[in-house]
């Protein structure tokens, strides 16, 4: 079943099968591109078309309902299939490698303008190829045996990659001879998504499913391993093993490779031999022959000479442009490829960064009121958000969509206004950074308040937090340290740290240190004094605020609070798990000038554990010094620096793990026990069955025996009776 279409061919309506039509179109297109340099091209093609049309009419008159593939093929054969013609007219046409023997000097050169260079060029030798003809091409270039080159390629490690690259970038001999270079196009006829794989398949003369598989295999593995996607795996993002990477590569190829829409592009895509070129060559050649003779006869000598001179000049220019060393060509192409790859990677990274910035800024925008002042800063913030971040995002998205939908707009105004707005955005962003930076420039003096403890002489102090739900950490999808939670008018900053030290007296001492930044020292001091932080002791428990509350008026200026707890020697301290958001560190260096600063040398403190203060520091109840039990922490150190309070304290994880382990152990034990129990039960059942069986059989045996005995009894009873009587009798008689 085939679709038949009607075409207007040379003024007559021809019903023709669609495939035949494609065939015909391709043929005529190949003629057209063949005669492209021919003066009378249109006329020649018109004549050929007329003849074909006439032949079509003949067929139809004979009773065919439509023109079929066979008809078209027959006609093409009649007109001269390119190859046939080439064979018939072989000879001076070309040798397989595409260089011309320069027998006729400049005249020959004139006849083969497209490919007759002086000097060698590197081609893939498609007539002696095994894979892509790279090796035999190189061998031909250097005049050595292809086997040597092949062995070298196989032996050297990078051979494969190099081979593929050369395959791509070195023109094939056949392509060149026929003046058609294979080009990479997307194939709209064989497409599933964008035709990229199909086009690549055409380019390499392989089934389209091979490139498809190469694109798909990492994707399939991706679905089995969700784990490897994430912002932290960014370097993998660009590697080819990362499957979304292949997706991105596909999209880029989609955007970059043009689609083969016209027939000549399709021919270029497949690198189909447009062999009718040889017709042209023969025509040119023949005409030259005519002219030559004409010339010999002394006619039009001057005109011909002039013409040829002109064309020669043109060709020489062309040749000069094209001719350069083959190796130079390779190096330049390779360099170009690498440059494009690197540029592509950079562009991709920038785009990804931009998009993530956009997402983060959406999440952070509610915090604006707590950080930025209302005036210019607010304007800058909006400007940054809209112009610096969202304008390019929208621009890139629209660009991609337009490319995919193939909408082409030459509207420069849009492009320029996009660029203009983005520059405005950059200005806003820079201003914002400068302005906000200025607000954080100065650090306040340290305000230290000592907390009056109601019961400082307690033997053991427990530190806990006020039970206020509002201070709990928000479950927002995005968290920006040190903001722990915020609502419309209040934000809670988790900038609370606890430091433990040794008391010089024999009672507990607690002091609170408040610090803050500001645009000048005075403002910073004022703001620091405004920091609300409560601490009070009830019985043996010291209650602290979980976070610092700030409002939209006072703004966030990196307010932070440190609670210093001095523990007397011989006393116990325990910090509850739900205190504070940040780590608690043991602070044992009172002499340090920067003692209010966070020091990396401080030790981590495990929450929820009771410690005993000794002369030389804190010890756990097991007698391990607090600074020696940190193997576990050290492992987590790097992570904790980044997200110190993002996750539950590592100690908890640890414990949790332990519990899990124990749980799983007991679970396993239980299972084991159950198994044993069931097997025991089944054994029991088995035993009972066996018992019953034995019992039954015994009973049966007993019955039969009894029956037998009964029978015997019946038989023997008179005798027996007699016997016994006799005995009795005898006995009696004996008496």
């Amino acid at each position: 079943m085939k679709k038949v279409i009607n075409i207007n061919f040379q003024g007559t309506i021809v019903p023709i099968e669609e495939t035949s039509y494609e065939l015909l179109k391709q043929y005529i297109e190949s003629l057209r591109r063949y005669f492209s340099n021919e003066e009378g091209r249109d006329e020649i093609i018109n004549d050929i078309e007329s003849r074909i049309s006439e032949l079509f009419q003949e067929r139809l008159k004979k009773g065919s309902t439509c023109i079929t593939d066979d008809d078209v093929n027959a006609i093409i054969k009649n007109m001269g299939r390119p190859q046939d013609l080439e064979d018939a007219e072989a000879g001076e046409q070309q040798n397989t490698r595409g260089f011309q023997q320069n027998t006729g000097g400049e005249k020959e050169e004139f006849a083969h303008p497209n490919w007759n260079w002086k000097g060698k060029r590197l081609y893939r030798d498609e007539n002696h190829k095994i894979l892509g003809g790279v090796c035999s091409g190189i061998a031909a270039y250097f005049g050595i045996d292809p086997v040597i080159v092949r062995v070298l390629f196989i032996v050297s490690g990078i051979g494969f990659l190099l081979y593929v690259l050369l395959w791509i970038f070195v023109p094939g001999s056949n392509m060149l001879v026929n003046g058609v270079r294979k080009r990479l196009y997307r194939n709209p006829d064989g497409k599933i998504i964008g035709g990229v794989c199909s086009g690549i398949g055409s380019y390499f003369d392989v089934n389209a499913w091979l490139p498809r598989a190469i694109f798909l295999i990492p994707f399939i593995s991706f679905f089995f391993r969700w784990g490897h996607i994430g912002p932290l795996t960014f370097p993998h993002f660009l590697s080819f093993s990362f499957s979304p990477g292949t997706f991105i590569i596909y999209v880029i190829l989609w955007l970059v490779i043009p689609e083969a829409t016209t027939t000549s592009e399709k021919l270029e895509m497949k690198g189909e031999k447009v062999d009718l070129n040889s017709i042209k060559n023969s025509v040119v050649e023949e005409m030259k022959g005519v002219k030559e003779r004409v010339n010999k006869l002394g006619m039009e000598a001057g005109k011909i000479a002039k013409e040829r001179g002109e064309e020669m000049g043109k060709e020489m220019q062309y040749a000069a442009k094209k001719t350069s060393g083959a190796l130079g060509n390779i190096i330049v192409t390779l360099f170009k490829v690498f440059a494009y790859i690197i540029l592509g990677c950079i562009a991709l990274a920038l785009i990804i960064a931009l998009f993530s910035l956009a997402i983060v800024s959406i999440g952070l925008f509610p915090l604006k009121n707590f950080v930025l002042t209302d005036g210019w800063q607010s304007v800058f913030a909006w400007g940054t958000l809209i112009f610096f971040i969202f304008v390019p995002v929208v621009g890139i998205i629209t660009f991609i969509i337009r490319r995919i939908a193939k909408m082409k707009s030459r509207n420069r105004m849009i492009r320029f206004s996009f660029i203009g707005l983005w520059i405005l955005g950059i200005i806003c962003f820079v201003s914002l950074v400068i302005s906000v930076g200025a607000d954080f420039r100065s650090t306040s003096s340290v305000i230290e308040e000592s907390v009056a403890l109601s019961n400082p002489n307690v033997k053991s102090l427990e530190v806990n937090s006020y039970n206020n739900n509002r201070y709990y950490r928000s479950n927002s999808w995005l968290r920006f340290e040190p903001f722990a939670n915020f609502d419309d008018d209040t934000a809670y900053i988790g900038n609370v740290r606890i430091k433990l030290g040794k008391s010089l007296t024999d009672s507990f001492q607690v002091s609170i240190i408040k610090m803050c930044n500001g645009n000048n020292r005075r403002n910073a001091d004022t703001l620091a004094a405004l920091i609300p932080f409560n601490a009070s002791q009830i019985d043996s428990v010291l209650y602290l605020d979980r976070a610092i509350a700030i409002n939209t008026k006072d703004k966030f200026r990196n307010q932070n609070v440190q609670v210093l707890i001095s523990v007397p020697v011989g006393h116990y301290i325990k910090i509850d798990k739900n205190v504070g958001y940040n780590q608690i560190r043991i602070f044992d260096n009172w002499d340090n000038d920067n003692w209010y600063n966070w020091d990396d040398n401080d030790f981590y403190y495990k929450t929820g554990e009771t410690y005993l203060m000794k002369e030389d520091g804190l010890y756990t109840l097991d007698g391990i010094p607090s600074n020696k039990e940190d193997d576990y922490h050290n492992k987590w150190d790097d992570d904790d620096n980044d997200r110190n309070s993002l996750s539950a304290p590592p100690t908890q994880n640890y414990r949790y793990d332990q519990h899990n382990k124990i749980d799983s152990l007991s679970e396993a034990k239980k299972l084991q026990m159950q198994k044993i129990q069931t097997s025991l039960d089944s054994l029991e059942v088995e035993k009972e069955k066996e018992n019953r069986r034995v019992k039954d059989s015994l009973e049966k045996a007993k019955e039969t025996l009894e029956q037998k005995i009964d029978k015997l009894d019946d038989k023997n009873s008179p005798q027996a009776f007699l016997g016994s009587d006799n005995k009795g009798y005898n006995f009696v008689t004996h008496i």
Partner: protein
């Protein structure tokens, strides 16, 4: 240097001459030319003929006239111009010279 190469070179040289001599006999339609050449055992593909005719026409050696056809589009019937006739004469002279020369040479050899 192979036989096909040489043979086709030889054939090509006389192609225009043959075409012109067919047209000289009277107005000719390209497919008629083909048929006649085939009949004389000189096979040529139509695809080669059309460009040749166009070239010759553009060189003012040939002219054509449209003839309505009841089987398809109008046909181009080619005929020689005066210039073409001159050209043909020159070619004919050259050919005869050449043929004689070749005959003599090959004949001597034999």
């Amino acid at each position: 240097m192979n036989i096909d190469n040489t043979a086709s070179q030889m054939r090509k040289g006389v192609l225009e001459f043959c075409i012109l001599s067919i047209i000289k006999l009277g107005e000719a339609y390209p497919s008629d030319i083909i048929d006649k050449m085939k009949a004389a055992n000189l096979n040529i593909l139509e695809g080669t003929l059309y460009p040749l005719l166009t070239r010759l026409k553009n060189a003012d050696f040939l002219t054509y006239r449209w003839v309505e056809s009841n089987s398809g589009p109008p046909r181009k019937y080619f005929s020689l111009t005066e210039k073409g006739a001159d050209f043909y004469k020159e070619l004919e002279a050259t050919w005869l010279e050449l043929a004689n020369a070749v005959e003599e040479i090959t004949g001597k050899k034999n």
